[in-house]
Symmetry: C2
Amino acid sequence: MTTEKVPPIAEEMPTVAPEGAQVGGAEADAAGVAGLRAPAVDVEAMRVLLDGRYREVRDLVRANLVEHAAVLVDAEEMDRAEFRDRVRDVVVMMAETGQTGMGFPEEYGGGGDIGASIAAFETLAYGDLSVLVKVGVQFGLFGGAILQLGTKVHHDAHLADLVAGRTMGCFAMTESGHGSNVQALGTVASYDVEAQEFVITTPDDASRKDYIGNAAAHAELAVVFAQLEVPGEEGVERHGVHAFVVPIREGGRVLDGVRVGDDGPKMGLNGVDNGRLWFDGVRVPRTALLNQFAEVTPEGRYLSPIDNPNRRFFTMLGTLVQGRVCVGGAGINAAKVALAIALRYSVRRRQFEATSSEEEQVLLDYGMHQRRLLPLLARTYALHFAQEVVSGQLHEVFSGPGPTEPGSDEHARRMLESRAAGTKALGTWHATRTIQECREACGGAGYLSENRFAALKADTDVFTTFEGDNHVLLQLVAKGLLTDYAGEFEEMDQLGMARFVAGLAVDTVVERTAVHKLVQSVRDLLPGGDSWDQEAGLLDPNYQLAMLRFREEHMIAGVARRLKRGIDQGGNAGAVFSRVQDHVIAAARAHTERLVLEAFVAKVASVPDGDLKDALGLLCDLHALATIEADRAWFMEHGRLSSTRSKAISREVNALCRRVRPIAVDLADAFGVPDEVLRSPDLLGWTDTGPVR
Amino acid sequence: MTTEKVPPIAEEMPTVAPEGAQVGGAEADAAGVAGLRAPAVDVEAMRVLLDGRYREVRDLVRANLVEHAAVLVDAEEMDRAEFRDRVRDVVVMMAETGQTGMGFPEEYGGGGDIGASIAAFETLAYGDLSVLVKVGVQFGLFGGAILQLGTKVHHDAHLADLVAGRTMGCFAMTESGHGSNVQALGTVASYDVEAQEFVITTPDDASRKDYIGNAAAHAELAVVFAQLEVPGEEGVERHGVHAFVVPIREGGRVLDGVRVGDDGPKMGLNGVDNGRLWFDGVRVPRTALLNQFAEVTPEGRYLSPIDNPNRRFFTMLGTLVQGRVCVGGAGINAAKVALAIALRYSVRRRQFEATSSEEEQVLLDYGMHQRRLLPLLARTYALHFAQEVVSGQLHEVFSGPGPTEPGSDEHARRMLESRAAGTKALGTWHATRTIQECREACGGAGYLSENRFAALKADTDVFTTFEGDNHVLLQLVAKGLLTDYAGEFEEMDQLGMARFVAGLAVDTVVERTAVHKLVQSVRDLLPGGDSWDQEAGLLDPNYQLAMLRFREEHMIAGVARRLKRGIDQGGNAGAVFSRVQDHVIAAARAHTERLVLEAFVAKVASVPDGDLKDALGLLCDLHALATIEADRAWFMEHGRLSSTRSKAISREVNALCRRVRPIAVDLADAFGVPDEVLRSPDLLGWTDTGPVR
């Protein structure tokens, strides 16, 4: 247990609980019981707390968003070509304010602060998301590859121009036939010793680069991922995937040997020019290889500080983790925009006129409407704080020594990659779900483009897929859990993982996950001893965390057992893995859910006593119990929840919703989404001076 | 129990089941156990079965869709004004084939078959959905209002022209300030005795007509819903909402006194010209009142065959139920398009190259991928057959005597309205969920517009809202259940319902829902006597249905008790209803889920023995158990599922997924979505001769 937060609410609960369980406030109504005063929310103070250490950076981005708010309308009215150019122009203008270069070294015009660059990117998600993704492509993917995979020669050649937005680039990794399986991509970079050049070739259509942002119209340079081949004594030596800087346009003209296709209209993000690239023997100098982790000498000799080719590959990819952290944060912030609109609307709109004024209710007074929106609000806070943890860890790791430098902590890098993957998956699924629910909660008006949901929904849809498909990412998380983030197993694909786990004594995994140890420690901490899961207060964060930990560890041990049993019984690894796959993914989700709740509980514990802490405590309880409730079937199936207590949790979630209801709009306002980007004139009842509050 | 289907599979199951429960085939693998041969699916025979009695109508629509398939591309490439005109032109061309007029009397150029008109509309959902919705507006809403609410004078004046598409019209009911609460709308139609005219006025901006399809550009006539006022002896008499035919354009010019606004860009359906209407003292003749259910004499006397104003209002609205049936069917068919693409893709694509060819697997071989798509496939079949039942009932009711004619069965009308509401809600939510899951299952490619998901997702989004918000519709269903569809309680809003139920002896409702009677009858039917819920086979449809019935009846009785207790304890009706609302909606859902499963089970029972029946039986089991599994927490909480048996159900769902896997693509192909409207060249691997199968 990492916290000793004592929830201020639990003590005020009536002690007579139904059916013997100490269930908290379920039967108490916020309006009706003394002592259950709803905390007042100081919106500005909450915003300061949410903005955290990068408040100034976030405010700079907010100001830029307001300045360029018209781009939200242009997204609807301009044709595709025009809007692409418009978005590029906005990106370049934003670059001039320093907003987009926070993560680059100061000597190249950057801000030298990785955490700041994440904060800036997250905040940008309040506005038009084509602008966001274009920024991500240019500064995160393209710029990040030059920075992380290149060395001084590349930095000197490109960073100042790309940070300023003078050179646009793209990140040509994904191929049509190889989505999540980067290691198998088909583009070839063959070294020609005579010319001291690499020759880049697309061997077939499955190997064309696809969905590449900035490729269709704007990029002059591409970082191209290709299979590196050098001539060897016994024929061609293949050294796996490496990245090369390849010019593809000059003065807007596509260069010889490069073919560009346009991915055409997309569901959303039509301000980003996604395209396809084919290379027909394009020659680039030897120095085009981004040589942070491998080098080819003029004579064609291959050198790398990392011997194992798989480890080299994953180390390379690992430096790109920032993209995942950014997309997760962007998803969470897009959800905030949707909630800000839907919650403000829900206190303005009446569904039916009541027959007497005393009974008149706005939408948010309805139990169903509370149920639809308030757990999502609580979860948004939870994910916000989880995101704060992962971006903080990223800042730490990437501000320290590089992966091949002395003092590099490889285990910390693997943990970060896993955490980033899990948070990205949960954050982006949360965006999809929240935006949909908020749209429906605004009825037909939510369908009109001026009310933001159209763009939010269409633009964020692909967040669950890009920077790693969420299901594939959760498999990565599970792999880390099962192998204890062992560096030497980095290379394993899912079949390798199945075989590896089967090869262990299952006790190794089971011992590591140690459900029995967990239960022992919980027993000491919570009232009720062996019956902790029956007698602890539902609003005790130690109980809530113990439940999520139990689920996680039980699931991981179960996956390990099933993999081992399957392979011991002679199944082939593919078939065994296939049957356990949903269990694998559930375990990874359970793990990430536990991390999210831990982050929230720790944050609440860190806040000084007062209304702010009380409000966050309410949200944290709501999030924790709604999370347990959502999987209460599993807890009942595994003996950790009686049917009586399960029902009590649902009642408690309802009661918490009623208690959050009076402060819900303030809690959404504290996200600090500028009015100018909310739009929604009818939903929010704009007058000449702004929306009615 | 309405069926005695004995599932052909259950008998072939291994009888040794873990932990004493007879769990069916969970531990058996389709590939590995003799006797579990996967049924072969004759795609054409399955299509004939799905198409049902209106196969020719559906084929006509398919041919028209192929003919006009280019409109799917135009949706992406044309600007809004151009695309609106294009869609209108397609609608008029389709009208010329007779496709859109099936439901109108033959003497006006219609087909005289209501069931055929539903079938045609459903099938149209395979293509561009702006075309679908424009058809719905013109022929369903506008034409339907003239037909159902008007009398011969209106039919003679308008039907032939509107059926042919020569006169375009709109249905002006919804107002900005009154979405789901039609009875409270603000537009006024005041009778001027002197002039023998109605004067139509929009009193304020909350009363402007909004989201009205066809209003922004094309409609010449509007059916306007307004509060009817006639002069009385003691001042103005208000008679509630009535419908009037009001000309709004002539030769493309908006008429004096009418103001038109444009709703502008929308999330989707941008080929439909949604707009706003304001009326400033627009005068229409006395005969403009659609006078099927009420009349104003030249002298200004109000007459109606229905005395009670609320009943009159709901009788009027009730004639418009066809729209809901149509939207539900359209949602289900849109889901079919998404599944057809995602399933075909899933057997072409490999996620990772396996290390040996024997282990090579396509996406659909993965357990998680099966879990994501196959229960949705099964549910699509279930909803298809449920939709077949409700459209059949609609055909029966509307081919019989009108609501004020002798022999009219008001109870049957109320039941139909309830069933249509529930099926619409489940069908449209299913569309949203299925399209989203299929998009994600196709990865980044699913994001490109040419692969259909972009339009499917954006266009269907509003289905959950229009023709009645799904949550409001489910409240309507619950009201019917709680009041036994009592005609005299039609007028009740939710507060009235709360008060009414509280006024009953709770026993009345509890007796009606009669969980105890249900349990008795199940006891006689299933093995295991009192322990039927522990010992019946999971694949026994009687068990599956008994579970869904138990849940439904338990929930309805629970809602009744909670409403009564809340009001007895002195709560005001609004607050009491608010707290029970999620329970109310859950009960309505549970009711509709039971109807859906009953429809599927009955259909399977009606099919002669053979592969077709076996395949449907597999799907029906998968649907039933996935439905129980989704709410297994509730069943455990209410003592109808042990944790052991709950886990067995999850294993069985996995096993059924594996058994459906080999026939999944055939089952999707049997929907008969024409290749030409699937598009998706890369996902489906089109060659010059069509998609690779």
